[in-house]
């Protein structure tokens, strides 16, 4: 048998690798939409690479979360609690990234504003994943490359929120999502889908 911690390390490496690839390709796409240096064909290729790498990374996130959950006892560790919270944030941002790209398609890069927003979300998702990796590094090796930045958080303390308040937060978030999906006016692209 392979320990959950080993599987966690393996799936984390797959996740971070594909996410990094996706982020680099996305940033290059955005740069091309700004400076138009390498041509539309190259941009389309980069866009597809970023999209499929993002989908692969999304598939890895639940595996990483599940194996990580099995590898440690989050109930007694504020660091692991922070890992769980950041995992949720990372998953949400990354689903949003993929939904956005699926909705707008490669034509998204012809709208600089959209391209900027998309790149921003990709970078935010990647930063969250980097923080998760940094926490894991501090736990296993006692240090993180993030320390080089000087302002990298260590997440030694976790919020202590009761079950009731957590449920309220969950219901509020779910309501917000439903309102966005069903009440917020759809854009033209979505209406024409």
């Amino acid at each position: 048998m392979v320990a959950a911690a080993t599987l966690h390390a393996f799936s984390t490496e797959m996740l971070v690798g594909s996410m990094t690839f996706s982020v680099v390709a996305t940033v290059l796409c955005f740069a091309e939409s700004m400076f138009e240096k390498v041509g539309e064909r190259a941009q389309k290729g980069l866009d597809h690479a970023a999209y499929f790498a993002a989908i692969f990374a999304l598939c890895c996130i639940p595996i990483v979360a599940i194996t990580g959950n099995a590898a440690g006892d989050a109930a007694s560790s504020p660091v692991l609690v922070n890992k769980m919270l950041l995992s949720g944030l990372c998953l949400g941002l990354w689903i949003g990234v993929i939904l956005g790209r699926k909705t707008w398609g490669p034509e998204m890069w012809s709208n600089r504003k959209m391209g900027l927003v998309h790149t921003g979300f990709v970078c935010a998702g990647y930063t969250t994943a980097a923080m998760l990796g940094s926490i894991g590094s501090v736990m296993t090796r006692g240090e993180t490359v993030g320390d080089l930045f000087g302002i990298w958080p260590h997440f030694d303390n976790a919020p202590s929120i009761s079950f009731g308040l957590s449920m309220v937060l969950f219901v509020l978030s779910l309501t917000a999502l439903l309102v966005v999906i069903f009440v917020q006016p759809k854009s033209e692209v979505e209406l024409n889908l």
């Binding site: 769980m84 941002l93 949003g96 939904l99 979300f121 090796r141 240090e143 969950f170 978030s173």
Partner: protein
């Protein structure tokens, strides 16, 4: 040429990466043999020699059978990593197996760091000051000369390093008649904050037993123990904050006064506990919230000035998205000719059932464009 430069630069960057040591954050205190950590600190391919100077000192010249003795090990002049962490061993041999003091019959009452293990991790302020660990021990039941070794594991200069000292002998002699003595005893080395500790000490040949305690290296306070049955009992006051408290037992009679080494007490600060189901809910809330934020911003950014035309009336909102806009009839009259300068038949078969004439004239062209591909 350009490609070659980029590739060469990348290769150089890879070569510039320093080899990393295995556990720069340490592995925690424990009872460990000399071979522990050898795979990293002892591997010639991964490690380098340590320049540490290890020295022993003890609180008395010799110990009696079962009697107390404190052995201090000081390490100086070693290389230090940025974390300044060192791991120090007190060993009874260097074979790699069964070479802890306990294997030779010694009892470790305290390692000076709130535990009773032979391996302790600590921090050195600098290499000149070094680090000192004091072990408080009870001697074995057999007389003789016992060997001790000190070892240190540390990092520095990008490599794992280790050093083992030369032998240090401790003589365990016979017990003088009438010597006050502590029988084998599990010393209290940790407790919860705010909790008094009742210590029951199996001391023999003593007419008075005193518990001395201090905070850090501060002044020493003492409490007399009372004989209760076969043991001397004393209560160590509670600590109200996480202070470095240590204590020792002074046993005396008319002829002798015996003192144990200082025993450090770790304060068990109340551990963190979380309701894991609540954390999962918070995690899902964050996921849903961030997803909602993503979708919302994407929609806002993608909307252009014409988008209001294709939306149903209920969805029309003001440019700042804060209030509903109900278009007036006058506005409708103005907008219709602007949209499509074509006539729209009121009995068009593509008109959805239930639409009023006004709705059909206003939204009809769009409806046809969206659902029937246009064409009037």
């Amino acid at each position: 040429m350009r490609r070659a430069i980029i590739l060469t630069s990348l290769l150089l960057l890879v070569l510039c990466v320093q080899p990393l040591s295995a556990n720069p954050g340490g592995t925690g205190d424990g009872n460990r043999d000399a071979a522990c950590g050898g795979s990293c600190h002892g591997d010639p391919g991964l490690s380098e020699p340590s320049s540490a100077v290890l020295s022993f000192s003890q609180d008395r010249d010799a110990a009696y059978v079962g009697g107390p003795i404190s052995i201090s090990v000081t390490a100086t002049d070693m290389e230090l990593s940025s974390r300044s962490m060192v791991g120090m061993f007190l060993l009874s041999g260097t074979h790699g197996v069964a070479d802890t003091p306990q294997d030779d019959g010694w009892t470790i009452l305290s390692n000076g760091e709130g535990g009773s293990t032979n391996y302790v991790e600590t921090y050195a302020q600098d290499s000149n000051t070094g680090a000192t660990i004091t072990w408080s021990l009870l001697a074995p039941v057999n007389e003789g000369t016992y060997e001790f070794y000190a070892a240190i594991h540390h990092g520095g200069g990008g490599s794992a390093r280790m050093k083992i000292s030369s032998v240090h002998n401790v003589t365990v002699g016979p017990i003088p008649d009438n010597l006050p003595q502590m029988l084998p005893w599990d010393a209290m080395t940790s407790r919860s904050l705010g909790e008094e500790s009742v210590l029951s000490m199996p001391v023999v040949n003593a007419t008075a037993v005193t518990l001395e305690y201090r905070i850090g290296e501060g002044p020493i306070a003492s409490i007399s123990a009372q004989m209760e049955g076969e043991a001397w009992v004393v209560t160590l006051p509670a600590a109200l904050s996480d202070i470095p408290l240590s204590y020792r037992v002074v046993m005396s009679n008319d002829e002798f006064t015996e003192t144990t080494g200082w025993i450090s007490v770790a304060n068990n600060v109340e551990g963190y506990t979380a309701d894991i189901f609540a954390v999962r809910l918070q995690s899902m809330a964050l996921m849903l919230g961030s997803l909602a934020l993503c979708i919302s911003i994407q929609r806002r950014m993608a909307r252009n000035s014409n988008s209001a035309i294709v939306e149903p009336e209920a969805a029309l909102i003001s440019p700042d998205q804060t209030s509903m806009v109900v278009p007036s009839m006058a506005a409708l009259e103005v907008e219709i000719p602007q949209m499509e300068p074509v006539s729209l038949s009121l009995d068009d078969p593509r008109r959805p059932p239930g639409w009023t004439d006004e709705q059909w004239l206003h939204y009809g062209p769009d409806h046809i464009k969206q659902n029937h591909g246009g064409g009037f």
